[in-house]
Symmetry: C2
Subunit: 203 residues, 2 copies
DNA sequence: CCTACCGATCGGTAGG
DNA sequence: CCTACCGATCGGTAGG
């Protein structure tokens, strides 16, 4: 019953804060992720929440990092073991759709990264840099996967991996928007159709 | 020197507020568009600013409406006089790119509508509804233009106008993000290439 | 991890 | 269109 807790307990609390923080941020944005809101939701004091991170900016960066780990766990890792090339790329794209779907999606308010990218795209600072880096890394990974598929001659020789990665990013942004803003139930299938055309699966 | 101004002066002040408000909202979002910030920027009192709209929500709705008028003036109207079909659609797409470019773009912080759509996509209320409506209307207009082009046999018979409109939205969202978040100078040309492929102009 | 507190800013109102 | 003010909330600190 002492206010001092063990290291393990403190770590569990930190995880609880981040889980809740990611849920809030996916709905309200990383700026809308306030310490007071977190404290109320978790039945803690503001100082108790803040003590785990030191500042709101550090909290935002930690939430981004944790969300990135979830994204990797849901979208990338289950496909990582598949054969490199078109098989794996298609599996990633399918998991990416699930990640964004209304009920099955990882975050209640839609893709946290896309929201954050719009929030911070006209500002400087560490959070902007972290968000930009996450998008760059993901785009590079996608382009690399496309390159592997082209190298295996599963895609036409003239395929431009960066171009395909660029277009894939667009498809998933409009998918996220259609699902969240408009509740468009046809968006996942539209995305599948566009991906199939882009990756030579039909059309 | 009386605090009461003429109707014409009041209208000019309202326009000044909205111009500045759109610039702020494109950078900070519609929630970051605060009455105090507007008042400071314009050398007015908060009450003076608020008096023109009545509430922050009404200010947000007015800013959206004004931004929508600008979008139409920049992207749609100059192309509206062209021949319906592929000619006009391509002109719209090219103007849409210019609207989003870093230096030539209409708003300093990038597309205000995309930012607002992410901000409000997990909330209810009049602002959410207004943003959703703007996107629906624009997508319908794009689909209609595609339909006209297909009806004139400038696009293949099996073209799905709604699918093409969906994919166009995605391309312009990733263009906006690439320009604002990452400063990707190749994004406009990548968009042109993807649009050309989508509208049968090459590739 | 808490209580108690800080100055700053938020949206909005009263009254002129 | 102003001054003067309201309660609420913001991020953060002191001290334990």
């Amino acid at each position: 019953m002492s206010p001092r807790r063990s290291v393990a307990e403190a770590r569990r609390t930190r995880e609880r804060i981040l889980d809740r923080g990611i849920a809030i941020a996916s709905v309200e944005g990383l700026e809308g992720l306030t310490i007071g809101r977190l404290a109320t939701d978790l039945g803690m004091s503001k100082a108790g929440v803040l003590g785990h991170f030191g500042s709101k900016e550090a909290l935002q960066l930690a939430a981004l990092e944790e969300a990135s780990a979830i994204f990797n766990r849901v979208v990338w890792e289950p496909a990582a073991q598949l054969a490199p090339g078109l098989t794996r790329l298609r599996a990633v794209c399918e998991r990416w759709i699930t990640y964004l779907e209304r009920e099955k999606g990882a975050f209640p308010g839609g893709c946290l990264f896309t929201t954050a990218s719009m929030e911070f795209d006209a500002r400087g600072g560490p959070v902007h840099d972290a968000v930009a880096r996450l998008f760059l890394v993901w785009r590079r990974r996608l382009a690399h996967e496309v390159w592997l598929a082209a190298a295996a001659e599963e895609l036409p020789r003239e395929t431009d991996p960066q171009q395909v990665a660029f277009e894939l990013m667009g498809l998933y942004m409009v998918l996220n928007q259609s699902v969240q803003l408009i509740g468009d139930a046809s968006a996942p299938d539209r995305t599948r159709r566009a991906v199939a055309r882009l990756l030579g699966g039909g059309g």
